[in-house]
Subunit: 332 residues, 2 copies
């Protein structure tokens, strides 16, 4: 059973994954590389993944057969386990609990070689609807507090399999970066009775220096204090605290914007590896006036890593205004 | 002039380095690669670096000539500038200040090919004494709040030049990770009137599951909630808040321990790239009862990066107890 352990100094929870690779040569990603040419995500290999939880396929077809457009399956090497109780406990100065949660893989396309920004808008919409559907289902389980959805694109951004997919990790705690955003947003709301994200959007539209693109309901910006070159955030223009509560007809527009932003990054930076992560409200909270869900897209361009991890201190060599001007220019 | 910009949501300061590379192909590290075979840190090339600030060399010799054992020079491409005023200011919802600070390079050895863990203990002691000397000098400048000392070893850990060196960045703010440790440690002290790090050391010695090695005055542990496989912390056993206040005769012992830990990591993990970073108290603070300086050593083994950056959520596939057992075994 994996453990969730809390850093006693700063309070950050970490998954200590006792049942995955234990030897240094045995990292999760690398052990899968050994599969060579075989891809468990390709059509025809449905029996090589755990049975599917969700799929988009013609209604007449059976689950776990070919003919699908999208599948969601449990991760074969889950970081957290779905069965069991949390058993929160102390051990001297330390706090820990059982690694209860869920870890799912969204296989976004049957086409092994197609990349996310080359999908049709409809296919990206399917991916977003799959995220929504899984959140709505998983939030019924009251043991869980947060659902983290992310995509690693490219090996150096952490993708362990070439076939395009995203991941979903359900946790009994709120991840640190999201908690900090929730706390900071709450402080701003207590002071001003306004959402800080709404304030940022208004100021960005007004100054027009960091707006990459906007539609009626969404906006993409390079953040003022971006940690990374070409970091882009996508936000709903109207206040909205939960990704899963987006109106049905807005997902098409969001899909188009995500495709647009990823295509611009691909053109501007020659198809870089990247990650995106959805920051949304904790699943058991009702609508929050102070928090605003958004997608953070981070191209992986710089190699410096451990130093930033060790200090929390970032040096960004590309001002977000410069990145924004470049991303505007390469629009299509 | 670089800018220090504050994230309006979570309050993290970031250096936006306007005068370094602005185009995506122009990252600081990579532009230096173009130097090819030429090394500005090698003896004979002293005029290719800015004039030295500190050196260890025979007393009869002139500065900026060959014959040195160690040199400290300003970074030729500094992230922050030494001259000027902070000019803290607002811009709507945003806060920023001028990028005032210092950025120095510690050239640890004249030998282009010698790596840190192969230095003599005396040479490592020289490096530590150079760190101390620079801190004692720089803390006189009251514009500055923090001195961050770190080493990137290996290209994938962020080293842009092969010749072994470490870096020092002086900032008018306290880096986020250190601030979180200071705040967490203060909360513990307010509750218990004890230093949390001292409590951890006592518990680790008692349980003896995560102690890699110890001497009279120092201890190396794999932390209970380690974010990374084989992460190791080195701490003084007695309470001490400031690295620069270590007793003169303890630096030899610390040098020996650092060599021991890096050698164990090198043996256990086949000479991995790594970073180390010194976490110490803000330079303008007097002795702190609640904070305990330490060195965090992070081997760069996993590729997953952007996801952790985006979420603050870490999955560590190697329990620190397993890493510790392995590091004990490879001791020499």
């Amino acid at each position: 059973m994996p453990e969730l352990r809390k850093d006693p100094i700063i309070g950050r929870w970490v998954i200590i994954s006792t049942e995955r690779g234990q030897r240094p040569s045995d990292w999760p990603g690398e052990s899968k590389e050994k599969l060579g040419g075989f891809c468990p995500f390709c059509p025809g290999n449905e029996d090589k993944t755990p049975p599917e939880i969700f799929s988009i396929r013609p209604k007449s077809m059976e689950a776990n057969t070919t003919g699908w457009q999208l599948r969601v399956v449990p991760n074969k090497f889950p970081a957290l386990q779905i069965e069991g109780e949390l058993q929160r406990r102390g051990r001297g100065v330390y706090d820990l609990m059982n690694g209860i949660g869920a870890h799912e893989v969204i296989i976004e396309t049957p086409d092994h070689y197609r990349e996310f920004n080359d999908y049709s808008i409809e296919q990206i919409e399917n991916v977003l609807l799959a995220y929504q559907s899984r959140i709505l289902d998983l939030k019924k389980d009251k043991r869980f507090k947060y659902i983290l959805i992310f995509k690693n694109h490219g090996r150096s951004a952490g993708a362990s399999l070439e076939h395009s997919h995203s991941q979903l990790i359900v946790t009994p705690i709120v991840p640190k970066n999201v908690l900090e955003e929730l706390d900071g947003a709450k402080r701003h709301f207590n002071l001003k009775e306004r959402c800080i994200f709404c304030d940022i959007i208004r100021q960005e539209i007004d100054s027009d220096k960091r707006v990459v693109t906007q539609t009626d309901n969404f906006i993409a910006i390079t953040p003022f204090a971006a940690r990374f070159p070409y970091e882009v955030w996508i936000l709903p223009q109207g206040h909205s605290s939960h990704f899963e509560n987006v109106e049905r007809n807005h997902y098409t527009e969001l899909a188009a914007m995500l495709k647009d932003v990823l295509s611009r990054l691909s053109k501007a930076l020659e198809a870089p590896p990247y990650n995106f992560v959805i920051h949304t409200s904790p699943i058991q909270d009702g609508d929050l006036d102070e928090y605003h869900w958004h997608i953070e897209v981070i191209p992986k361009l710089t190699k410096v890593a451990g130093f930033e991890w060790g200090s929390g201190f970032y040096i960004n060599p590309t001002p977000p205004e410069t990145a924004c001007a470049h991303l505007r220019k390469v629009g299509f």
